[in-house]
Amino acid sequence: MRPLTRLRHRVRALWHGADLDRDLNREIASHIDDEVEDLVARGVPIPEARRQAGLRFGSIPAATEAAREARSVSVLENFARDLRYGWRGLVRQPALLVAAVTSIALGVGANLTLFSLASHLLFSVPSAASPERLVQVRTGNGSHVPFRGWADLEASGVLEGVAGYRLEFSVNWRHGSDVTSVLPMLVTANYFDVVGVPVADGRAFGAAEARADLEPRLAVLTDRFRRRHFGRDDVVGRVLTFNDQPYTVVGVLPPGSRSMAPLGVEPDVYLPLAPSLAPAIAAPRTSVVQLIGRLAPGQSVEQARAALSVTASRLADDYGDPEFGVITHVGRVGGAGQTDAFDVVAVFFVVLMVVAGVVLLIACANVAGLLVARSAARRREVAMRVALGATRGRLLQQFLAESLLLSAAGAAGGLAVMSLAAAWLGRVSLPIPLPVQLHATLDGRLLAFGAALVVVSTLVSGLAPALHATRRATASGIRGGGGPAGRGRFGMRRVLVAGQVAASSLLLVIALVFVRNLLLTAEVDPGFDVDRVLVARVEFVEGRQGSAAGPVVERVLDRIRATPGVQSAAFTDSVPLTLFFGASVGTELRIGPGPDPVRADFNRSVIGPGFLETLGIAVRGREFTASDRSGAEPVAVVNDTFARQYFPGTDPIGQRIEDPRKDRPAAWTVVGIAGDSRYRTLGEGRVPALYLSGLQADAPDRLTHVVARTSGEPEAFGAQVREAVLAVDPSAVVTTETMESALAFAFLPSRIGAQVLGALGALGAALAMVGLHGVIAYSVSQRTPELGVRMALGASRRSVAALVVRESAGLVAVGLAVGLGLGLLATRPLAAFLVTGLNPSDPAAFAATAVLLVGVSLLAVWRPVRRATRINPLVALRTD
């Protein structure tokens, strides 16, 4: 009963707060009347009775406030009142409002953008029906398994369904006279049935019609591909020519559909996996597809793993492929299971989020500084409210309501900042040949994160000023005035500013270390001659690349070499420092005369005759020639590091390297030693490399590269190289660029690191400078009388300016010392991201940070200092 009564009262009080206040006032009036009546009855004259009654009652507002507290709805009721009150107060000071909201908007915007990118790239779940029942399955074969492994697992019924997919690098799409390369997702016939991808127009293809052995010619397009090439046209039923075969479009996926491919990679088109597109599916031991399984309703991941293990090991026995029998991973789709690169990308984002968090803290410190300054001006108001019976808790509530308003407004601004950043990111094209979509979109996760940011920034920006403002809220404050009593509060602002300078110098040091890294990267010698080299990527339709005895690319090269201005040209499976850098191999090799195989880790490239000459890599001995073809003695070229490491103390030329693997033994004779170059990244150390002759390869790949050294600007030769390829095979896709632009890929990590961290560092420093400016300007205004006296007593402008500069120099010096000290600690774990040879405590970066911060600090205090020197002593003295 009682709780019910109480609840009724609270609800009544909440809705009728004003009524209840009126009620109380009536009651107090009636009380005073009673008192007066009583006194009059005892012979006190009426006016005197009135006075006494009033005195006896004491503070009416205090009683009202106390009664209101007693109703205890006050938390909510007061909160609404505080918001209104706070809003009125804030709009009266538009400068403060704009500065605070802008600060928080920038800080929150940076956090939201990075968070939504991270959540999109790392945690987005593929578009599917009940994605929580979809699992990624990996075996001892690696991320991919042989095609028959998929087929037999699906046939066994071990899960409700098992599908396979393969993100192929490209298929050639002919439209009109043009052939371009598009990114296909090759999927098993049952893929759409198992995954349940929502389709916008038309339909998906089904298991019965899309069986691999039928060579199905069906296609499902993604919305992005459709829009880019067909606009709003209806494409269902159209026939598109992929790899010179007609495919009928049966459906289009909706906008924003997310694929199984990791890290935001979106294919252009889904095609049924078939021998014509991926001949390797016929090979029993070649891993071709990634597995995706659908759990039966109620089946747990653990049960699925157990069932898969049993079935897979039985199949592995049949195949004689024991690795297939080991289930290494069964995990829900999306998130950490999507790719092995997850950890690296996640660490990268964690670093960025921490940095962005520091930027937000700097922004909050700015707002805190502004609020502290404002609370100094409001001491009188606070003291009055305390005298009227407001408790400290009540006052804290009121102050926090104000910072909540600021933070919420800032977060709204942050969303605007994010959508601007998202629009910009959507236009960024990364120098990689994969269509990665950078989305920053609004979703529940992002909103929850935004709400958390509002709470954090409310507390960080509001709690300290609120505690400070209410701590000395005594009646003495009513007397008002500024004066030395403000010193304590001002001390707090100084701490805030020194903290901001420290945080921003930390950010700047990190950013500058990465800028140095970028500069050093550009200076790193790649080990080959980049100038006047054209790189062409050539993709043949599967089957048209020729045979081991006569790769088609040889005929192409004959034409290119005959072009005037081309000095040399060669084909290769890999171009150093691009996405196709070759293969990182770790295997057992029998090297030289020793009888035992040794473990060797090296970069392997399969190159055609003239490759080393074209790239200007020096060779001792000889490089491959046109006679190093199948049938001739197998030969190899090693680089200096390989020679030093695996042929210590002997000359490798003429010695043998054997690959003793049972299923495919191979042996080569070393005929040359090439100079070292960089293969994967510019930052890598010396890496051993093994070159094999492309004319001795098992079978040519449909994807190959042509490099050509030219006498003039290499761009000019792009068209001729393309014509040479198309004259031999018009169905091939040719993409040409200069070696210099191809290397943009190698600069990508350093560039992204330097740009993002540089932007965040600059943002943090700018916010800190706004804070510094505010504190010094306020200090000058507070010290106007003092400075006036000094000037009246003959102090020169110069010495007054020095006084003010010294004050800010102290703050900056303390902040810098702390920030650079932290920088020494913080940059150490970043060494892994840096070029070898760059000290993470790079003195240049630290010195530049100090110079930069001192410079911008001088700018920040320039205006207040000027004001201080222009003080008119007469006017200044009159103000006190």
Binding site: M1, R2, T5, R6, H9, R10, D23, L24, R26, E27, I28, S30, H31, D33, D34, E35, D38, R56, F57, G58, S59, A62, A63, A66, A67, E69, A70, R71, S72
Partner: protein
């Protein structure tokens, strides 16, 4: 003479409940009655009386009604509820235990 003895925390509730135990009264009468009965030793400051009344009403121990007096004035009259009566008995027991204990300490210690 200093201030009239500050009421021990919580005793005001007891005094109000006890005073209303003899019948419904309005605020002024409650204060007056406490003063009279205690020979003006206990002075309830009005600034604390009304917050206390509102709190007790809120907790469901008092009910309140506006009444019109013969003189045509309005008064808010408070009365004990059933819960209020139980609370009164409870507080009296507490008080007796406390005052007995304090008395013991004063005499014996």
């Amino acid at each position: 003479m200093g201030k009239p003895a500050d009421l021990l925390q919580g005793t005001l509730d007891l005094l109000i409940l006890r005073t209303l135990g003899t019948g419904p009264k309005h605020g002024w009468a409650i204060a007056k009655r406490i003063g009279q009965v205690s020979d003006d030793v206990l002075q309830v400051t009005q600034g604390s009386l009304y917050p206390a009344l509102h709190r007790l009403e809120h907790q469901g121990w008092l009910s309140a009604e506006w009444e019109r007096t013969d003189g045509g004035r309005e008064r808010k009259v408070y009365a004990l509820t059933a819960a209020g009566r139980r609370q009164l008995a409870h507080e009296i027991r507490n008080w007796q235990r406390l005052s007995g204990a304090v008395g013991l300490v004063v005499r014996e210690a």
